[in-house]
Amino acid sequence: MNKAGGIGIGGGGGGVGSGPTAAAAAAAAQKQKALMQRVETDIANIVDNFTQLVNVARINDTSVRNSQEAFMMEMRAARMVQAADSLLKLVSELKQTAIFSGFASLNDHVDQRISVFNQLAEKTDSMLARVGEEAAASLKELETHYYSSAQRTSQTLEP
């Protein structure tokens, strides 16, 4: 988590500049701060609840106290799971942000695909032209063969 925070801060700091991207950079920094806050809150939540769970392991004399602690243990466990679920949602949000914010890689990929498809189109066009030429050559050859064939020649000789 700390490493990710460090990288994120470095990336955010590098992007700060003047012009139209300043507002975007500020918004990104604010969002990053909020996400870090959420992460810290959730992890603190998990640690605190787990600490409390361990602390109530002592057996008390009164059964009422023991029952009370049993209910508290269930509550703490539920809170821990809720915090874990919140962390998971945060990871999903980060993945969505990565999907919709990776413009550089997307643009590169799109350009690459465009060039590939252009090449494919050119190749197809040349192939079609070649097919046409071969068809024309084959047609000419077939016509020549037909008109010089015995069947046609015998038809010629017949009055």
């Binding site: 049993a70 243990m73 046409g132 017949e158």
Partner: protein
């Protein structure tokens, strides 16, 4: 208690004499105090029944225990002691409770208070053990809960990894957007794929956004990315011909059924067993089909707009929802419609073979000689329709190339697109398409006529010249003098003629070029028409170029060929030193007696035995008058002789005979 009820009666509250002494003094018992009276009453309660019952039970247990021990002496029940202790405790408790109730019922005795006895050490330990066990059980339950939650979270992580992995792969080829407004239904992650090309909005403003432009991305049952399409939502373009000559129905294009179909991927029973790669591939192919469906819809919209445009000059004969009918030629109509993708396949599959069998003509244009032989008697000129599938592909191709591709290639320099009157583009393209179709049909008819002629004139060759233009076609009718004749003629030529450069042509070509529906014939070796009127046919143009219509086309071709043969014969006659006169289709020889012998070519496209026949006609000074009184139809008259459908070598020999008859030449 048993059924018996024992009753005891209190003594009457009368002082009874206890004793009398000898002196007569009576002694009465002392009065009993309240406490003593209470204690005595308590003592009067008989617990014998309980004690007896206990004894009986003990006695019963002992023989049972003895029997048990006798039957199974190996393993006593571990909880036996505990059960007995609990039973005893239960009995004592019930006794005490009955005592308390009885005492309270009497109102004479009440329970003043109870004090918990000080717990014994073993009881303290027992309580502690119970508490410990309870807490341990709690922790174990928590452990199970954590394990269950961890498993669920792991599954969710795996599902999301699969989902987002697939989404990232889809994003590399498609435009993925996030839904920002509106309630997101459960199961829907809020993503959608946008298939509409908004770069065309400025250039083709008439395009309506398709209902399929945005596709929602959902979670499948296995967590995998899934795409839901409404049923019967995808349409495909269908093209066909409608002919007034045909008794059959419309001829439609065959839909090439590609792999897969427009079904929801999750509906396939084997979906769960497919890997992620295969799922992504299936999704890609599904999106591609939807993209094609959107393209077909856009093409149909542009066709509609182009047809309705009044400046297009197109004749719209029918229009319905998703259906447009155009008349491209008299008696020939085409239709363009949008059909459901699954329905199009079914329609074609069920009607395809029947339509092909009952079609007027084969879809392919490779009609060839066979067709000519079948139809040589028919002058109805039934249309030869080109392949519907190829026409459909051509329609899509021209719209794609001239609208979509050129729209994307336009510069973005000023931020505004250069509008080039999209309405005219659409109508212009449609007009071009209709003209191409009519040209294709017309050229098929011309080809039929050419093949008809070539089939019946054996010394003609037909050479095709692919133009690779949708509205132009070209052929050449080639006639070559056989080498044997050339050799023979070279031996019979006069020395003077031999010294001259050989000007006798041995090859004659007649080029037929069709542009749209205009037939242009360019022939070489034909006499100059003007020279014919000047009675001098020696002025020969190297080539003649002229247009004609389809009805006169066969005759003109045959006349051209016949004139070329006449020219060749004329040159051969000149080569042997005979002076011959050449008319358009007639070669004249002057005999010694002043008579004129004419070798005349007769052309008839309808003659199945041969299109070019030869006649020998004798003329003298009075032949003109006699002709008026002669039966022209009599081919065996003394002035006319039908020679038949002569090949070139026989014609050459006939010429030589005529030369010898003329009495001139080197022979």
């Amino acid at each position: 208690m048993d059924g018996k009820l024992e009753m005891s009666l209190d003594k009457l509250p009368v002082k009874r004499l206890e004793s009398i002494e000898e002196n007569g003094i009576e002694r009465f018992p002392t009065d009993i105090g309240y406490d003593e009276k209470r204690v005595s009453l308590i003592r009067r309660i008989d617990f014998a029944w309980a004690v007896e019952k206990e004894d009986e039970e003990k006695k019963q247990k002992k023989p049972k225990k003895g029997s048990r021990e006798s039957s199974s002496t190996t393993t006593p029940w571990p909880w036996q002691n505990m059960a007995e202790n609990l039973q005893l405790a239960h009995q004592e408790l019930s006794v005490i409770i009955d005592l308390i109730n009885t005492v309270e019922a009497n109102d004479a005795v009440t329970v003043a208070g109870m004090t918990r006895p000080k717990p014994l050490p073993n009881e303290i330990l027992a309580d502690l053990a119970v508490s410990t066990a309870t807490k341990l059980q709690c922790y174990r339950n928590l452990g199970k809960y954590f394990k269950q939650s961890a498993r669920a979270l792991e599954q969710q992580v795996a599902r999301e990894a699969r989902f987002y992995g697939a989404l990232i792969r889809l994003q590399q080829n498609w435009k993925v957007k996030r839904q920002r407004v509106g309630a997101i239904a459960p199961g829907n992650e809020g993503f959608m794929i946008d298939l509409f090309d908004n770069s065309l909005y400025d250039s083709v403003a008439v395009l309506r956004p398709s209902s399929l432009s945005t596709i929602r991305v959902d979670h499948g049952s296995d967590g995998m990315l899934a795409i839901n399409l409404p049923s019967k939502s995808c349409h495909s373009l269908l093209f066909g011909f409608l002919s007034g000559h045909s008794n059959a129905g419309p001829m439609k294009s065959n839909k090439i059924k590609s792999h897969g179909s427009l079904e929801h991927p999750s509906k396939k029973p084997e979906k769960e067993s497919l890997s992620d790669n295969e799922c992504v591939k299936d999704t890609h192919s599904l999106l591609r089909k939807v993209h094609q469906a959107i393209f077909d819809e856009q093409v149909f919209d542009m066709v509609n707009c182009g047809a309705i445009n009044q400046s297009s000059g197109l004749n719209v004969t029918g229009i319905q929802e998703n259906y447009l009918q155009l008349c491209i030629d008299p008696g020939i109509s085409v239709f363009v419609s949008l059909v459901l993708s699954d329905q199009g396949d079914q329609v074609v599959d069920s009607e395809g073979p029947q339509k092909l069998e009952s079609a007027v003509l084969p879809l392919d244009s490779l009609d060839g000689v066979k067709l000519a032989e079948e139809k040589h008697n028919s002058r109805t000129k039934k249309p030869c329709f080109p392949n519907c599938t190829s026409c459909e592909i051509y329609l899509k191709q021209i719209f794609h190339e001239y609208v979509f591709v050129k729209a994307n290639d336009r510069p973005f320099s000023s931020g505004t697109r250069i509008s080039s009157q999209p309405a005219n583009d659409g109508s212009g393209l449609l007009s071009h398409f209709c003209l191409s179709l009519s040209h294709r049909i017309f050229s098929n008819k011309v080809l039929m006529e050419l093949e008809n002629v070539v089939c019946r004139v054996p010394y003609l060759h037909l050479i095709s010249h692919p133009t690779w233009h949708s509205r132009a076609s070209a052929w050449t009718i080639f006639m070559k003098i056989p080498p044997s004749i050339l050799h023979a003629s070279s031996q019979t030529r006069t020395p003077d003629f031999q010294s001259i450069k050989n000007v006798v042509k041995s090859e004659f070509r007649t080029k037929v070029v069709i542009n749209d529906d205009c037939i242009n014939i360019e022939a070489e070796g034909a006499p100059n028409v003007v020279g014919v009127f000047k009675e001098s046919s020696e002025d020969i143009c190297s080539s003649n170029k002229y247009d004609c219509n389809l009805d006169d086309f066969p005759v003109i071709i045959l006349q051209q060929v016949a004139s070329q043969v006449i020219r060749w014969l004329h040159e051969e006659a000149l080569a042997v030193g005979i002076k011959a006169n050449r008319d358009f289709l007639c070669l004249s020889f002057e005999l010694e007696q002043g008579e004129i012998l004419n070798l005349v070519a007769h052309v008839d496209p309808e003659d199945t035995r041969g299109c070019i026949s030869w006649w020998l006609i004798m003329e003298d000074g009075f032949a003109e008058e006699r002709k008026l009184h002669m039966d022209i139809a009599d081919g065996a008259s003394e002035y006319r002789k039908f020679l038949g459908y002569l090949p070139l070598d026989v014609l050459y020999l006939t010429l030589m005979d005529l030369v010898s008859l003329c009495g001139g030449g080197s022979r």
